[in-house]
Amino acid sequence: MIRKLDHSEAIKQLLICPWLVSTWSEKHWESLISQCYATSLMARVNWVLKKNNLTHHIPQTLAWHFAAANKAYDAHLHDVNREIDCINKALAPIDIKPVYLKGAAYIVTEENASHGRIFSDIDIYVPKNKINACEQILLWSGWVGSNKDDYDEKYYREWMHEIPPLINIETGATLDIHHNLSPVISRIKINANILEKQIEPGKKANTYVLSPEDRLLHSAIHLLTGEEFYKSFRDLTDLDFMLREYSNKDKEFWEKLISRAREMGVGRVLYYCFRYCSRILHTPIPASSFAAIKESGPHRLLLPIMDSLFYRTLNPSHTSFKDNLYGVSCFCLFLRSHWLKMPLKILIPHLLKKALITLENDKEAKDETTPLSNNQ
């Protein structure tokens, strides 16, 4: 499975068998760095090397890449913690206790999936009946709406599981406020009430998170029904870290996870999660758990198709992993994600509308001069 001498799969080798780095040539390290840049995993790989006491194998001329990425990560951690304090402070007067999701949840629980992971938005969950109050008080406390037009407004308010993102004017950070884990009109329907029953405190004072099973399922739903492919390998490593950590801490984790997935109606997602985590990152999933979820898998004729799509999109988005079918696979999964997200009678007008908006924006962009980059 792991081709020991082939440096084109350096990042996977490192995540699966970190100690192999002692056999690496400088070219392996060079490939690793290139793949880390492509997948935004430099700081996480640095953490894996550190945890396994392997940093002395890094060639000296390349060590700065890791050290620098780690500095950026430390700054990110600091910023997220400060942002969480701002959000908690703003919501305290009306007694709303936001539940932190995804990246922010990994940080407040200090779990392995937080290490070296840089993300752009903070996601929180607030019960639907409190969401108006939550939005209002944030708007009074220094956040502003970011919705572009009436269509966007309708899209979020009527169909989605979150309200239009808010932006903290002082820090520029984006806040996504969810009242469910999947869109209201989605084919995957989750009863938000069952989430609330298992909310638990985070390690950071005054923070709350979903239960470990729900955190895992939420991240899996996001990755395996979503449409952001350039970060999918990073998100797959999140799932791998979570499965390993949670199952080590709780002997009953696997049973709880499987029954929770069935309760939520996301058995298929968990099946894919098990399949690709174990096949791509060698996540140790017990055979009994695999067998228990097998019935939720796709039809045997569909499976090879899904395999070929997911192998292409879940592997690192780097030239050493991409083949000619990468773009087509992304497109197919993009269509699938929309198919799952909304019924056809909403989906078709929505895609047409989006295409029109993109065309118009292109035209406007040509009229104005678009900045090359903020920094230059």
Binding site: Y37, H65, A75, P371, L372, S373, Q376
Partner: protein, 290 residues
């Protein structure tokens, strides 16, 4: 304009680059402005870059190129005649977004006899023109855009690359000194007309690990109507704030950024310089601060 895709390894300043491109103006630009910078296939690469045509129907009407960094495309595509400037801007981006071993300030930096001067400046302040002129009068170019300060020692490190000149500055420098190698001027970029100048030999022959202490920080202010060419001391406090504001990664470095800037300003003198565009006088004023 296009040929078969080619891979070249070369040294851009202090970093090793692996470039894949089929755009002939990029290959020509590298031959011209990075002479003797080719490195062997065995050398370890820092940044893998691709300058490639944007595919699609548009390619046959108005061809565009994009800058790809390890599968990431950080900028909008640009018309194909801007391919070489795009490479230069992309290389700046590689440094300014990743190299947190340094405090990175948007400023020109030059060195002579172990002393370095830093010239931050807004567009139009004349910093690039002055930087090019100083380099033609014996100063070594550390960088015309990105001052790299080591966060542990507070010393500046060289990253010499072609000097980017804009609009009138191109002709001003061409008439200031004959026999200077320039890339072809590219018009109608986001920054107007742009040309790149080959840095002098002593800049690129310089040993890359040789650091230098920053002796003065000068904020040049070009004003054609200026009646006095003068250089006046300014406070370290206001200089500190301006440098922090002009830094790409002060916020990433946090406390480390603060201590690094403090180390620099403990030893450096700070000035504001008004000049009317006369380069000889400008050079004299800069040198008078040492």
């Amino acid at each position: 304009m296009l040929r078969k895709s080619k891979k070249i390894n070369f040294r851009a300043g202090r970093f090793n680059i692996n470039l894949t491109t089929c755009v002939s103006s990029v290959l020509k630009g590298i031959d011209l402005l990075y002479p003797h910078s080719k490195i062997s296939q065995k050398e370890i690469i820092d940044f893998h870059i691709n300058i490639k045509p944007v595919p699609g129907i548009r390619h046959y009407i108005k061809p565009q190129v994009e800058f790809v960094f390890n599968s990431i495309i950080p900028f909008h595509p640009l018309p194909i005649d801007q391919a070489f400037p795009l490479l230069e801007w992309g290389l700046n981006w590689c440094v300014s977004t990743h190299c947190h071993q340094f405090l990175i300030i948007h400023a020109a930096i030059l060195e002579k006899n172990g002393s370095a001067i830093v010239m931050p400046g807004l567009p139009g302040s004349g910093k690039s023109t002055l930087c090019a002129a100083l380099s033609l009068r014996g100063w070594r170019i550390f960088s015309d855009e990105l001052t790299l300060i080591d966060t542990t020692t507070g010393l500046a490190y060289p990253n010499p690359r072609p000097v980017s000149l804009k609009n009138q500055s191109i002709d001003i420098i061409k008439s200031f000194e004959k026999n200077v190698v320039f890339s072809e001027t590219v018009h109608d970029t986001l920054k107007g007309s742009v040309a790149h100048m080959l840095p002098n030999k002593q800049s690129t022959n310089f040993y890359y690990e040789q650091s230098s202490e920053i002796k003065s920080v000068i904020f040049p202010k070009y004003d054609r109507e200026a009646t006095n060419n003068e250089v006046n001391p300014i406070s370290k406090g206001s200089t500190f704030l301006k440098l922090a504001e002009n830094s790409f990664n002060y916020e990433v470095l946090g406390k480390e950024g603060f201590t690094t800037l403090s180390k620099v300003l403990d030893n450096a003198k700070c000035y504001e310089m008004h000049y009317d565009g006369c380069l000889e006088k400008g050079i004299e004023l800069v040198e008078s601060t040492l």
